[in-house]
């Protein structure tokens, strides 16, 4: 678990740097896709609903987004956590996908 969290810290740090410095040059009509948001959504969507790494990832991703934006720290943490919890709840209560259940 600790190894996985460390891995996602490095992953999200790399992604945030990519987004603030590299992807700026590839913006489409001034819009830069938020890869951290996309990653958090996908992770929570495809993770087994009994595991919690997706929530940790939302926390880590939100923290890095907060650091590299002008807003108060906590803004993106809250948003991403809310999204992650929402996805987890919906999937746990209403969705049964066999190949994900096995993981």
């Amino acid at each position: 678990m600790l190894k996985k969290i460390l891995f996602s810290i490095i992953l999200f740090y790399f992604f945030v740097l990519l987004q603030t410095s590299f992807l700026v040059h590839f913006s489409i009509w001034g819009i830069i896709p938020n890869f951290i948001l996309i990653l958090v959504i996908f992770w929570n969507f495809f993770e087994n609903s009994k595991k919690f790494l997706g929530l940790h990832n939302a926390l880590i991703g939100g923290f890095f987004l907060d650091i590299f934006s002008n807003r108060i720290i906590g803004f993106y943490i809250l948003i991403l956590l809310a999204i992650a919890v929402f996805i987890k709840l919906v999937i746990k209560k209403h969705v049964r996908i066999p190949f994900i259940e096995k993981n």
Partner: protein, 285 residues
């Protein structure tokens, strides 16, 4: 036997309750710790941000440079046809501009002679500090540059490109880094003028306001004024935010409605964040 069964039942219930409450209290403690940590981070946000920025500045610098080159390469491939047309147009425009430069040189000479005759001191050029862009803010229109308080940079200093086009002003200063609020930020507004290029050569004053997402508007121009596409917007010394004569951009579109007392003028900024790598901070003007 009976008591044993009874005891077991109660014990089971207690255990169940304890399990339930311990899970709940764990969650509660987690949330409380999270709130506390966020609170502490906000108190020390300047130090936290400064630490992360200075650690990642070298990586970001490299990434910015690589991104610039890669985007240039692919952009050129995609736009090869339109670039050809553009080149022809530019060539024509270039010749026109060259002839203008010749006349302007003559005027400059004349101006110099007249100034000497009148003994007016020429306007001093600005003191500039050179800086490199290392990143863009995630949600707002601001960028990070690699010069900070140690290099003599302080808040509210204007930032320009090599071509004297206005980029923004310094909004936050760290030890070796600072944040630049672009003129397209929603919080940015300053005095400027449109120089109309017809025979009268009059100026239309107004206020440039940021709209977010690299968009800027020119506000407070009455409906009666005629503004056409391509006219040049530059700063005025009014308000004291920026020195006068810096290029802001060109008029992109002017909309008039019968309801609004002012026109809605969209400006195309003179700088392009995608192609910028170095900028200048005006430390004295």
């Amino acid at each position: 036997m009976f008591t044993n069964f009874h005891f077991g039942l109660i014990w089971g219930k207690i255990e169940h309750n304890m399990k339930f409450s311990s899970k709940k209290s764990k969650l509660l403690i987690g949330v409380l710790v999270l709130i506390l940590v966020i609170f502490l981070l906000n108190i020390f946000q300047k130090n936290v941000r400064s630490f992360f920025y200075s650690v990642s500045a070298p990586i970001q610098k490299v990434l910015w440079g690589v991104g610039d080159r890669v985007a240039d390469f692919f952009g050129a491939i995609i736009k090869i046809n339109s670039l050809k047309n553009e080149l022809d147009e530019e060539k024509l425009e270039n010749q026109e501009l060259l002839s203008q430069i010749v006349t302007l040189r003559e005027l400059k000479k004349e101006n110099k002679v007249l100034r000497e005759a009148l003994e007016i001191e020429l306007q001093k050029e600005f003191k500039l500090a050179f800086a490199q862009i290392i990143g863009k803010d995630i949600s707002q229109d601001s960028i990070l540059i690699d010069k900070g308080s140690e290099d003599g940079i302080s808040e509210n200093m204007p930032v320009i490109t090599q071509q004297k086009a206005l980029v923004g002003k310094i909004s936050e200063v760290y030890k070796n880094l600072s944040k630049v609020m672009l003129i397209s930020d929603k919080k940015s507004s300053f005095d400027a003028k449109i120089s109309v290029s017809d025979e009268e050569e009059k100026d239309i004053p107004g206020v440039v306001k940021g709209k977010g997402n690299f968009k800027i508007m020119f506000d407070l121009v009455p409906r009666e004024e005629e503004v056409s596409r391509g006219e040049i917007v530059s700063t005025t010394a009014l308000g004291g935010v920026f020195p006068k004569g810096l290029l802001v951009g060109q008029v992109k579109e002017a909309k008039k409605t019968d309801v609004e007392p002012f026109q809605e003028i969209e400006i195309e900024s003179a700088f392009d964040i995608k192609n910028m790598e170095t900028i200048f901070v005006i430390t004295e003007f």
